[in-house]
């Protein structure tokens, strides 16, 4: 009989990036790389565990933008071509490294992995990875939770309650459409909680969500068990809190496992190192160097000198780290169990893209963690958030504190002098849309489509990713471009609606460009 629970939560999200107007858009590669480096490896890991009889349970979110991209024919066709190109590159790499056996071994590994990806994507999953994940939910191994429509950062949209309601309702509708069932749980984008969002979630049938540590520790009244039990909001929503220890052990760039010297170096990629002519067929068609995924070095140390990656040593290290992680969870649980009147839950949320993309060995670590959990069942048991609530439906009443998992734990990652200009535009647009919806309670079909597309453009502008990118400065120009595009289209559409002169060709063009949420119910913006 276990003394406590460990609930891993993998948050899978990418911003909605789709550029039919370009033959080769750099930002679409985020999606293609995430499939080969993260989503397929996670599915492979689950298959391996199931085949080996290793029980596993964790919670996962699959945000609506990612889910939409995973079923988009244009993006999937482009991904298949990208995969084919990389397999070809793998063949050439095997030839190129023929006189360097250690490197050639790695080239063969990558080549084999890419071929496995193609086989699985085309044959086994029939190009539908979203359903591949939901199949594991149907088997009871994972629990997939919903999220906001376009990953809007809800605390800063709350000035328009209808905007928050629309993000949540349309996100849940998207989940229901994909899964065929209503979600129990909801991932708040960026862990962004504010008092009041619980009522919206509860009204939409959500049973639980998760927030950052201090969302619970600073709740009112003060919860007695910290983050080791959920709290129940006045609305009845259960809110779990993130465990800092687990976060640090995996995520920290200083202490975290992914920084180990044996692991693969993310920042060394042949796409930035080999001869341009050799690479030209496999990078951006304008000759812009990009990551290819062929990375031959390990982290080695802080200096620039890198040693060759040794996959066997990295695999062994992943196994050691999984055992170490579990040992720490056991220590934590043993102590907590003496202090609590029930089994504690340790909630460990991570970005899913950490596993495989940033941390190449992450999926292997997951496999070894569940292997260890199966072998040492006496202290810690893996669970999902919903399963824990089934066992402990009665939890301390409290209203969590406003919080996020951004820098310093509040809103400043998404609201600072670099990106604060976004919010007057988003707030005004949401108010304008609500007003238009009230003006057109029973619109004619063309106006109905225009209102729906206006809502779609606004939702896409609300994504938290743009504010994050502008803040981080890495892809700020792209983020500003996306905001400008969606808000400009929104302005055009609302102007056409207001003037009662819809241009059908223009509307069709907008609809074709971003066909996310085909059944979008824009009336949620009407309040």
């Amino acid at each position: 009989m276990a003394k406590g629970y460990l609930a891993l939560l993998l948050h899978a999200h990418l911003p909605y990036v789709r550029h039919p107007e370009y033959q080769d858009a750099l930002e679409e590669r985020w999606f293609y790389d995430a499939i080969t480096q993260c989503y397929l490896p996670l599915l492979f890991t689950m298959e391996e565990m199931a085949a080996a009889g290793i029980p596993f349970r964790f919670t996962m979110s699959l945000t609506p933008p990612l889910a939409a991209m995973l079923e988009d024919p244009l993006l999937l066709a482009r991904f298949a071509q990208r995969l084919q190109d990389l397999i070809e590159l793998g063949g050439r790499e095997i030839e190129r490294t023929a006189h360097r056996p250690a490197e050639q071994k790695l080239a063969r590994l990558y080549h084999a992995h890419l071929q496995r990806c193609r086989e699985a994507f085309v044959n086994r999953y029939q190009a539908d990875l979203r359903q591949a994940f939901f199949a594991w939910q149907a088997k009871g191994c994972i629990e997939i939770i919903a999220s906001a429509a376009t990953h809007g950062y809800l605390p800063l949209l709350a000035i328009n309650p209808a905007a928050v309601q629309a993000q949540i309702k349309i996100g849940i509708d998207s989940y229901r459409r994909a899964a065929g069932v209503a979600p129990s749980g909801f991932w708040l984008p960026e862990c962004g909680y504010y008092p009041g969002v619980d009522e919206v979630l509860k009204a939409q049938g959500i049973r639980y969500t998760c927030c950052e540590t201090h969302g619970i520790t600073r709740a009112t009244p003060r919860p007695p068990h910290g983050v080791y039990t959920p709290v129940t909001c006045p609305s009845g929503l259960a809110v779990f809190g993130r465990d800092q220890e687990s976060s640090r052990q995996v995520w920290s760039s200083v202490e975290g496992y992914p920084g180990d010297q044996a692991y693969r170096e993310y920042y060394r990629d042949i796409g930035h190192e080999l001869d341009l002519e050799y690479l030209r067929p496999y990078i951006h068609r304008d000759g812009i160097r990009v990551d290819t995924g062929f990375k031959y070095y390990r982290i080695t140390g802080r200096s620039g000198r890198k040693e060759l990656y040794d996959p066997e040593k990295a695999e062994a290290r992943a196994e050691q780290h999984a055992a170490d992680f579990l040992r720490k969870k056991e220590n934590q649980t043993n102590v907590l169990r003496t202090l609590m009147a029930r089994k504690p839950i340790i909630v460990a949320p991570y970005d899913a893209e950490l596993f495989g993309h940033w941390w190449h060995e992450g999926p292997r670590w997951l496999k070894y963690l569940f292997t260890e959990l199966a072998q040492r069942p006496d202290t810690v048991r893996a669970t999902t958030l919903g399963a824990y609530l089934d066992e402990y439906p009665d939890n301390p009443p409290a209203t969590p504190c406003a919080s996020s998992w951004g820098k310093n734990g509040f809103n400043e990652t998404w609201l600072n002098p670099k990106n604060d200009w976004i919010y007057p535009l988003l707030h005004r647009a949401a108010a304008d849309l609500g007003e238009l919806i009230r003006q057109f309670p029973r619109p004619q079909p063309l106006f109905d489509r225009a209102l729906q597309q206006a809502a779609r453009e606004l939702l896409l502008a609300q994504a938290s990713d743009w504010a994050f990118m502008i803040h981080a400065g890495t892809t700020a120009a792209y983020a500003e471009q996306r905001l400008q595009k969606h808000l400009a289209r929104f302005a055009q559409l609302t102007a056409m609606i207001g003037e009662r002169t819809i241009d059908p060709a223009r509307l069709t063009e907008f609809e074709a460009h971003d066909p996310i949420f085909p059944d979008l119910d824009y009336r949620a913006f009407g309040g």
């Binding site: 999200h13 107007e21 370009y22 033959q23 750099l26 590669r29 985020w30 960026e190 540590t213 520790t217 600073r218 009244p221 003060r222 007695p224 910290g226 039990t229 220890e245 640090r248 202490e255 180990d260 044996a262 951006h284 068609r285 812009i288 062994a316 050691q320 780290h321 170490d324 040992r327 043993n334 003496t338 609590m340 009147a341 029930r342 993309h357 301390p396 406003a402 509040f410 809103n411 400043e412 609201l415 002098p417 670099k418 604060d420 200009w421 919010y423 007057p424 535009l425 005004r428 647009a429 108010a431 890495t474 400008q484 808000l487 400009a488 929104f490 302005a491 609302t494 102007a495 207001g498």
Partner: protein
């Protein structure tokens, strides 16, 4: 109170004892100058006046405002005020007045910031972290009279620290009449038994990180915070163990097991099982909270979008 720049021109007026601070001027003016953002502004922007407050963190608010400026006396919303005060427009100061609210949401005091309409936004340090505020945008006449034009919604900044422990929860850590605990420690805690050191002291010192020069090495158990001598002492103390036993029996059926509470003692019925924690895990978790774990949601930096 100070503006980070142009302190002499922008020193806000302070009313009451509180010292507001404008932290940084928004870049909205720069953004507007770039020519990018106005093109995406909804058609209705500036068609009506408003002021919006957004919480940034416990000590800081962001405010932005939109105000129609037209010299047409009919359309100028401030025209009546100007007439009323007989001030020239240039002598009238635009003011953002922040009102602090008490727990019952009643205004307690306020402070003023002198602003420029074209600036559009600002950041303000609030005197009471975790408090509720609203703002009024208006004008102050030369003689000091304030004419509010528009009011924001009430917002609250997040709490800067955990709420104090509830007396009831503290008093109910251990059921006074529980025979399983009666003999092992003094009855409930008034005053608190001195034995167990506070969990925050026991657990707060972070474990040293794993030695990266020997990758994969587990943090020695003796270094784990949960294994610190102080905490182990607490864990092993008769108090804690006894409480643990009492708690388990209560958890089983959400009520005291027969015999664990003397008949007629009401305390058990009033205690929820989660009140039985002996140590303050909330304080422990708060101490371990290390902000800054923001996750990179974008897989990799990429150059600008280029048309293929």
């Amino acid at each position: 109170m100070s503006f980070s720049k142009k302190k002499d021109r922008h020193s806000p007026t302070v009313v009451g004892n509180e010292k507001p601070k404008m932290i940084k001027k928004s870049r909205l003016d720069q953004a507007t100058a770039s020519g990018l953002r106005p093109s995406v502004r909804p058609a209705s922007e500036f068609s009506q006046k408003r002021v919006v407050l957004l919480p940034v963190e416990p000590h800081r608010l962001h405010a932005y405002w939109e105000f129609p400026f037209r010299r047409d006396p009919v359309a100028d919303p401030m025209a009546p005020h100007r007439r009323q005060t007989r001030d020239e427009a240039r002598q009238t100061k635009m003011i953002l007045r922040f009102h602090a609210l008490d727990a019952a949401q009643n205004p307690t005091n306020h402070f003023d910031l002198e602003i420029e309409a074209a600036t559009g936004s600002c950041y303000v340090e609030v005197p009471t972290p975790g408090g509720s505020y609203y703002a009024e945008l208006g004008f102050r006449a030369a003689l000091g009279r304030f004419f509010p034009a528009v009011r924001s919604a009430v917002v609250a900044t997040p709490a800067p620290a955990p709420a104090p422990p509830e007396p009831q929860a503290a008093a109910s850590l251990v059921p006074q009449s529980d025979p399983t605990t009666r003999d092992s420690h003094p009855p409930l805690a008034t005053p608190e038994p001195p034995a167990p050191p506070p969990v925050t002291e026991a657990l707060t010192p972070a474990a040293p990180p794993a030695d990266r020069s020997t990758p994969g090495a587990a943090v020695p158990e003796e270094n784990h915070p949960a294994a610190s001598p102080a905490l182990l002492a607490v864990s092993a103390s008769p108090n804690v163990m006894a409480i643990g036993k009492a708690s388990k029996s209560w958890r089983a059926d959400q009520a005291p097991v027969p015999g664990s509470t003397a008949p007629g003692q009401p305390i058990a019925k009033e205690l929820a099982p989660w009140h039985l924690a002996r140590l303050d895990l909330t304080e422990f978790c708060e101490q371990r909270f290390a902000p800054g774990n923001s996750s990179p949601t974008v897989p990799s930096p990429a150059p600008e979008l280029i048309d293929g």
